[in-house]
């Protein structure tokens, strides 16, 4: 089954978010009443797995091995429902 999995990679609390801070300053300059900005990355991944749990485990492992640096980043994995991807919509790299 193909599952759609959403992965959020964010900085651990206490790690300086230089990008978020720069964006906050710029938004302030444009006149928005912004207090803080947190930058994070979201990946939407389609993965073959036997079950929701299996999909979650596979992608959590991928987070530890590639998508996140555990020294400064936390990750969270959210599995959405299984989906069927039409053959012709798959991108070939």
């Amino acid at each position: 089954m193909n599952f759609e999995v959403e992965v959020r990679i964010e900085l651990k609390p206490g790690v300086i978010d230089a990008e978020g801070e720069t964006i906050r300053k710029s938004l302030k300059l444009l006149g928005y009443p912004v207090n803080d900005v947190k930058s994070l990355k979201v990946y939407v991944i389609g993965v073959n797995a036997d079950s929701k749990k299996d999909a979650e485990e596979k992608i959590a492992d991928a987070c530890r091995r590639l998508l996140a640096n555990p020294v400064i980043q936390n990750y969270s994995v959210k599995v959405k429902n299984a989906r069927i991807i039409p053959e012709n919509s798959r991108k070939r790299l």
Binding site: K12, G14, V15, I16, A18, E19, E21, T22, R64, R65, L66, L67, N69, P70, V71, I72
Partner: protein, 276 residues
């Protein structure tokens, strides 16, 4: 090392997006080291037979600067993942044999992602440190001052305390241990793993102050080595200043050589002393 004459051979590892390999090759050649640009696939064997290379034909492995794989995910993460998937065993053996491995800029980021640096307890499975977004979130491309604070294989012949003017060119160069800065910084210092620190022109520490410290790096760290001292990673680019005219102040000071030259001379001298 098998099939080797006394010549030192450097393997400059490239893949999509590395872009400092040419000047790194020239810098090695200027000090009498054979250097070859080798694509990752030439080492993993995914090429026609005549293009295949064996890592153990070389005694220096250098990962050059650039934007490997577009710096996607994190700088160096994808290059490191590709090495891990196909070449890690060879690299581990290469390092354990005492051969030298260097990484400049993106190369440093890759060595951190690979777990070769800081390598407190050997090569780690997951990264033990991070080179993350510069404190001012901007790309810094300009000369900085570096103080050579501890020797490693690469810098054996450079006097401790020597100040070099070398350019940086990076957006992700802030060295950190995340929430455990203090604990692991002490370990780095105790092990003598800090090789270069950002400093003022007179060699006093930058103490995090911009512009001397270009990225907000912990303890002004610009370059570190592993505890065994044969793996070095550094953010600044010594290969960009090997000639006098490449020195930022050359019209006023007319230096005959750039400050990066001594780095390569040091490796060359070390390798000559080491060849049996």
């Amino acid at each position: 090392m098998k099939n080797m004459d006394r010549m030192t051979n450097a393997c400059i590892l490239i893949m999509e997006g590395t872009n400092c390999e040419e000047e790194t090759k020239i810098a090695f050649e200027k000090v009498g080291i054979n250097a070859e640009l080798v694509h990752l696939k030439q080492l993993t064997g995914e090429v026609p037979r005549e293009l295949k290379r064996d890592l153990f034909e070389y005694n220096i492995l250098m990962i050059p600067g650039g934007w490997s794989a577009g710096d996607y995910i994190r700088a160096g993460a994808i290059f490191a993942a590709r090495i891990k998937s196909r070449l890690m065993k060879e690299i581990e053996e290469f390092v354990e044999d005492g051969n030298v491995v260097g990484g400049i800029c993106n190369g440093f980021q890759i060595l951190i992602e690979l777990g070769l640096l800081p390598g407190f307890d050997g090569i780690s499975k997951e990264p033990e440190a991070a080179l993350t977004t510069n404190l001012n979130a901007r790309f810094q491309c300009r000369p900085v001052y570096l103080k050579h604070v501890g020797k490693c294989t690469f810098t054996e012949k450079i006097d401790e305390g020597k100040v070099l003017q070398v350019p940086v060119a990076h957006a992700e160069g802030r060295f950190t241990f995340g929430g455990e800065d203090e604990k692991y910084l002490n370990k780095l210092i105790e092990n003598g793993q800090i090789v270069f620190r950002y400093c003022h022109p007179d060699g006093t520490p930058a103490e995090g102050e911009f512009p001397w410290n270009p990225n907000g790096s912990l303890y002004d760290i610009a370059g570190i080595c592993n505890p065994e001292k044969n793996v070095l990673g550094m953010m600044p680019h010594p290969e960009r200043v090997v000639e006098g005219i490449q020195h930022a102040d050359w019209t006023r000071t007319h230096p005959s050589l750039g400050d990066g030259r001594i780095f390569f001379e040091s490796i060359a001298e070390f390798m000559r002393g080491n060849s049996k």
